[in-house]
């Protein structure tokens, strides 16, 4: 074995530790029997998790977040689907610029998106802030992600299948439902999951656009300034981390199973 091999492996392991270390401390301290997140650990307890069940405002915020995330996932996938189809199936004039324009929300700081939407909603349309406005903001930032997932899936199968379907007498609508949609289903599912995760975790836009009701991240943020709420926050944080990780892994597995492409650069 050359020496370089060991060095890079060592680096990779240290890197993964650096990546996960701070995050994994959260469940450690959440299970620790103490008011502060400090070493040495005092003892094992699940009381932080047990007390969450009695915290009604937390449960309410959780329900709100789930509601928003589900609607955002569905809505942004439905909106991204025609756009992804149009961009992969037809050589649109100016398709390139449109595509890069669609990706803009990826690079605009979310605080700018947040304030810009705030301006439109309050100053121009004069709509009251509510959970609807949060959902609208989330749809806006989710669409680029959903589109890139859907497009990579749609690019993966042969367009001549669709031609064959119309040659055999299917209407465009039938072709979509009986051919394109089932083939794109893994992409659709991972797009839904991605929209859900992004919306569920998003903080800045929700912080700007929410009315009186809190989403879970906004609730968490409001709790962070109280030191005595720390154990509860840690417990909640650990649960969210586990939940997000499970969803991401599920999304990846579904996508991988749907796309047996062995091209390694095609991640």
């Amino acid at each position: 074995m050359p020496k370089k091999f060991d060095m890079l492996w060592l680096y990779a392991i240290i890197f993964i530790m650096f990546l996960y270390g701070p995050v994994l401390l959260m469940p450690v301290f959440a299970l620790n029997d103490g008011t502060f997140a400090t070493f040495p650990l005092k003892g094992f307890t699940v009381k932080n998790f047990a007390s969450m069940a009695a915290n009604t405002s937390m449960i309410l915020a959780f329900q709100t977040s789930v509601k928003i995330a589900v609607s955002v996932a569905v809505l942004s996938t439905v909106l991204a689907m025609p756009a992804a189809l149009a961009l992969t199936r037809y050589r649109l004039p100016g398709g390139g610029p449109i595509q890069s324009f669609m990706m803009l929300p990826l690079v605009i700081p979310s605080i700018v998106i947040g304030v810009a939407l705030l301006v439109i909603i309050l100053k121009i349309f004069g709509i009251q802030l509510s959970l609807w406005t949060v959902a609208a903001g989330h749809v806006l930032i989710c669409i680029p992600f959903c589109m890139s997932v859907l497009m990579s899936r749609l690019e993966g199968f042969d367009p001549s299948l669709e031609e064959a379907s119309s040659d055999l007498g299917c209407s465009a609508w039938q072709t979509f439902w009986r051919l394109t949609f089932p083939l794109a289903l893994p992409g659709v599912i991972s797009s839904l999951l991605m929209g859900f995760i992004i919306s569920f975790d998003e903080f800045v836009i929700a912080f700007f656009l929410t009315g009186t009701e809190n989403t879970l991240p906004v609730y968490l943020f409001s709790q962070l300034r109280f030191p005595n709420k720390l154990p509860g926050v840690l417990a909640l944080g650990s649960l969210i981390l586990v939940g997000s990780a499970v969803l991401v892994i599920a999304a990846e597995i579904i996508r991988k199973r749907g796309a047996p492409s062995s091209n390694p650069g095609d991640y």
């Binding site: 995050v23 997140a37 070493f39 700081p109 605080i111 301006v119 991240p217 991401v248 990846e252």
Partner: protein, 284 residues
């Protein structure tokens, strides 16, 4: 769809030309907000030895500070991510998907929580301080860990590093392996081969990764708010404050627009300086 994206930005631009008049919004178009940002004064405000000849120097100072902080974080991210991407592309042969998932999971878990985790690590009673105290290395907690620009940079770097690996990895993966063999056959040492073949060929992905990290971090809000403390505020905090606390949305909009313009200019200068067109052309 295009309209949906263009509308918020257009509204922001429009708003930045209005003015706030107490509780009323004056809808006559004016450049007053921008004038306020660049109005000069004879009394310079000194910040770190740099004189700012502005009557209202806060935005300019915060902008410069944000650029420097995010540049530092970006450099750290690339330095950390490149070896890892190299490892993924050249060392891992089996279970590649598993490694990639392992690296991307933290990126998908809540940003807020990752930042908060650093607060737990670096805090006055945090993991590092209490850990070091428990094993007897220090008596007093180290106060310089949290609530300063350094903490913000560390947290930003950690939050974005997973994001930077993928573009670099993809461009490394695309390199034709026979080019590397050719370089070795023609007598290049491993280091020379890396510097003359691998590094230039992976430059587009590396540049893309740097931009993907740099652009959003300049305007980041969560990280400076949670771990920055009074000394670690960035331009995003100012925008938030102008909008929500000082109730001067038009000025906030002007600051946000200026921020985006300055980022665009910095990025353009950067791409021009490294000859990005040349790099891309070579890849073709």
């Amino acid at each position: 769809m295009i309209l949906m994206l263009a509308l918020p930005v257009a509204a922001l631009v429009l708003l930045s030309f209005w003015t706030q008049n107490g509780f009323e919004l004056d809808r006559t178009l004016t450049v007053e907000n921008y004038a306020q940002l660049v109005r000069l004064s004879d009394e310079p405000t000194i910040w770190f030895g740099i004189p700012f000849y502005f009557a209202y120097p806060v935005p300019a100072i915060l902008m410069l500070k944000s650029l420097v902080m995010s540049l530092t974080a970006t450099i750290a991210v690339i330095a950390l991510a490149y070896p890892m991407a190299y490892f993924l592309a050249f060392r891992i042969t089996r279970n590649k998907a598993m490694w990639i998932i392992l690296i991307t999971i933290p990126f998908w878990t809540s940003y807020l929580l990752r930042v908060f985790a650093w607060k737990v690590v670096l805090g006055f009673n945090g993991a590092i301080n209490s850990g070091l105290k428990a094993i007897g290395i220090i008596d007093q907690p180290l106060e310089f860990l949290l609530y300063n620009p350094g903490a913000v940079v560390v947290t930003l770097a950690h939050s974005w590093v997973a994001f930077a690996i993928l573009p670099i990895y993809v461009s490394l993966e695309k390199i034709d392996r026979s080019l590397l063999e050719a370089a070795s056959d023609l007598g290049d040492s491993k280091l020379r081969r890396f510097l003359r073949v691998t590094l230039p060929l992976s430059a587009p992905g590396t540049v893309a990764a740097a931009l993907l990290v740099f652009i959003p971090t300049v305007g980041d809000y969560v990280t400076p708010t949670l771990v920055g403390g009074p000394g670690g505020t960035m331009i995003g905090n100012l925008v938030q404050e102008l909008f929500l606390k000082q109730n001067n949305a038009p000025l906030g909009a002007a600051v946000a627009i200026m921020m985006m313009l300055i980022i665009a200019v910095v990025v353009a200068i950067f791409l021009w300086a490294i000859g990005y067109r040349r790099i891309r052309a070579r890849r073709m």
